[in-house]
Symmetry: C2
Amino acid sequence: MGARPLTKPRKDASQERSRATVDALVEATARILVKDGFDKASTNRIAEVAGVSVGSLYQYFPSKEALVAAVIARHQQEILRTVRRELAEAMGLPLAKSVRKLVTAAVKAHRVDPRLHRVLAEQIPRVGKLEDVGTFNRENYALFRNYLETHRDELHVDDLELASFVCVTSVEALTHNAVLAEKLSDKAMEALIDHTTRLIVRYLKN
Amino acid sequence: MGARPLTKPRKDASQERSRATVDALVEATARILVKDGFDKASTNRIAEVAGVSVGSLYQYFPSKEALVAAVIARHQQEILRTVRRELAEAMGLPLAKSVRKLVTAAVKAHRVDPRLHRVLAEQIPRVGKLEDVGTFNRENYALFRNYLETHRDELHVDDLELASFVCVTSVEALTHNAVLAEKLSDKAMEALIDHTTRLIVRYLKN
DNA sequence: CTAGAATATGAGCGATTGCTCGCTTTCGAT
DNA sequence: ATCGAAAGCGAGCAATCGCTCATATTCTAG
């Protein structure tokens, strides 16, 4: 018993100096992850890049996984903020207009830090049971399901559960792949948004 | 000059004994990948599981990457066989019927070895520049684009390039996630196919 | 039968990994 | 000025990694 989870901080920083250390460590982890990938992100190197000793690292993070978990949490926090901001404006609009808002929101979310997002998407499955990740995805998912309920009378589909899965999965995949292409002009990006919107609206409407 | 690619076999096996060794190594790699993930697949362990010495491993594979590349190639080979079989029957049919065939083909492709497929999808990006992977994806992509050309008059969309991206990405993501859920009944699977077909057909048609 | 080519072996190298622990420095409260 | 707690340090350990190489075994062709 008492096997403490490996993703929780070892102790929390009370003084400001230590909070700066923690920040530097998370930031260094993110930067290494983006620049060189998961494998090259050793604890020694993270500490070095953060300008901190390994010992200090292990004062606040019980494992390498915990570091990555912290990076994920920070990134998701940022994304959720972005999404909610866009989402609020969409709720009142008619279906076609609001779907477009949602798609735009998804694009913006992926643009928060595309390269970090890519690495995390690839590596998250390997960071073991990471309760926050599942929670985060369910939150996104539930948010959209709730949106569908709101527009229920305008929809043709019967199974809202399935419809949510279809929409969220498609939009996520499309925006994810599109943003990672990087070399897209604004023109191309808008075309992508147009098509994605059309895809979803036609699927839902009758 | 002369920096030989790390994914090509070091030498090819001419006798049958050595061909068996190579097979055992690839098979062992696949099994470890599925059971314990990429990180746990050390060359020493692969050799051990294959019932072969590390030395023999390095006679045929110049690096760990080459091993994984071989697993990928074998898996893709199997998938391509599955897809082509289904695809041939779809070409003549009207849009609605043929799209359904294509979606079914995608599902079957993902069902060849779902758990291996998952690991590979996660790890492929890390196996460096792996020319065959890109080639494989483009083949899939081109195949569908070609299909769209065939039905051009039935379509509303103008930009076939973009339309291919939208369709392939969506269907791939939907089937991938659905198959990985694993606990789906046949009933649920059919519903998923229905919805995916509807999604694509409505998007394309006018 | 024999020689040489093909194949197989595994101890072990140098490098790197995640991480510990004894110790020092800095801080805040008195 | 003092002192305990908080924070920081970094040499270095045990484990593991990918991989080599000198040696041994098995095959095939003449």
